[in-house]
Amino acid sequence: MSRISATLLVSGIIVFGVIVAYELTLMPRTADPLNHAPLTLRDTGAVNAVSAILFDYRALDTLGEATVILMTATVVAFLTPRAKASMLAVRLSSIVLYGVVILLPFITILGIAVMAHGHISPGGGFTGGVIVATSTVFYAVVYSVGGQQSYVIAPAANKLIENTAMTAFIGVGLLGLGLAGSFLANAQTGIPLGTPGELLSAGTIPVLNLISGVKVGVGLGIIVMSLFLE
């Protein structure tokens, strides 16, 4: 690329930035004109308003989002051949080997706690699922030395768990369809919402959080392990 076209590109980007900056100054800076907090607490019983949107108001979009991860895991596992080679040729020191074993339960428990508290604190199924995937990938990377492979969960079981979680998500949606007449209905089904802020509250939101957490954790495990085994 010549110097002229590079100059044109940079100036185009600067013009774009000026336009975006001008648009941002036009945006209203008022704090939530609709005052959504009482409405969210009444409709869903969830303290975390982001979780309320993801798993109640727009739960159908979250189902689509979960499908994206399912499709990615399927396509990545399909495109990468089942190589037996491992990235690491040397054995790691015993500090790493024992450190992983000591850390693993804590990472997993942290992930499950983030999943289970998704409706009352920041976090949720997707965040917790990523933390759980970290622990399983960590173990597989450290203990798959040379041709030998070690897993917390076998690859075949991974796919079974992911498909089961996907089916469970759709099952919760069909439950809402049967009880309230709308797919993925929460409060309309008559499920008690409980006191906002308690662990057992917000109807189906914690259930969907746990299901999507398992799905994301296993799906990311499949994706990373497929790339790792190349």
Binding site: M1, A6, L9, V10, I13, I14, F16, G17, V20, A21, L24, M27, R29, T30, A31, D32, N35, H36, A37, P38, T40, L41, V47, N48, A49, V50, A52, I53, L54, R58, D61, E65, V68, I69, M71, T72, V75, V76, L79, T80, S121, P122, G124, F126, P196, G197, V216, L220, I223, S226, L227, E230
Partner: protein
């Protein structure tokens, strides 16, 4: 002030991302630029939701002013889609490297399909 700082960062990241996507020929660097663009989009979403006199959308007290949670939910969706796309792009780059022996776009001039 914080709006200005984050806004300038967002626009600068967008510029870096677009420039890199058009100028780099190494595929993995193009994926990195794609991720920089994604970070700029996430910063923009958080900036749209931000309001100086409101709290994060964890509704501990219903009477307080909270920022709108919808851009945050969209940001979470964007993170998930971005991670999936990155994984797919890296997989395809591995395939290209295996079949053509290079990940430079310049060297793939005769590439069809």
């Amino acid at each position: 002030m914080i709006v200005l700082t984050i806004g300038i960062t967002c626009i600068a990241l967008t510029g870096i991302g677009i420039y890199g996507l058009l100028r780099r020929t190494h595929m993995i660097r193009m994926v990195l630029c794609f991720n920089i663009l994604e970070a700029a989009a996430l910063l923009g979403l958080v900036l749209i939701a931000y309001s100086p006199d409101a709290r994060s959308p964890i509704l501990r007290a219903a009477t307080d002013a909270h920022v709108l949670p919808l851009p945050h939910a969209l940001a979470l969706t964007a993170i998930v889609i971005g991670a999936s796309l990155t994984a797919l792009m890296l997989t395809l780059i591995v395939r290209v490297h295996r079949s053509h022996g290079t990940v430079l776009v310049d060297k793939l001039k005769d590439w069809r399909g």
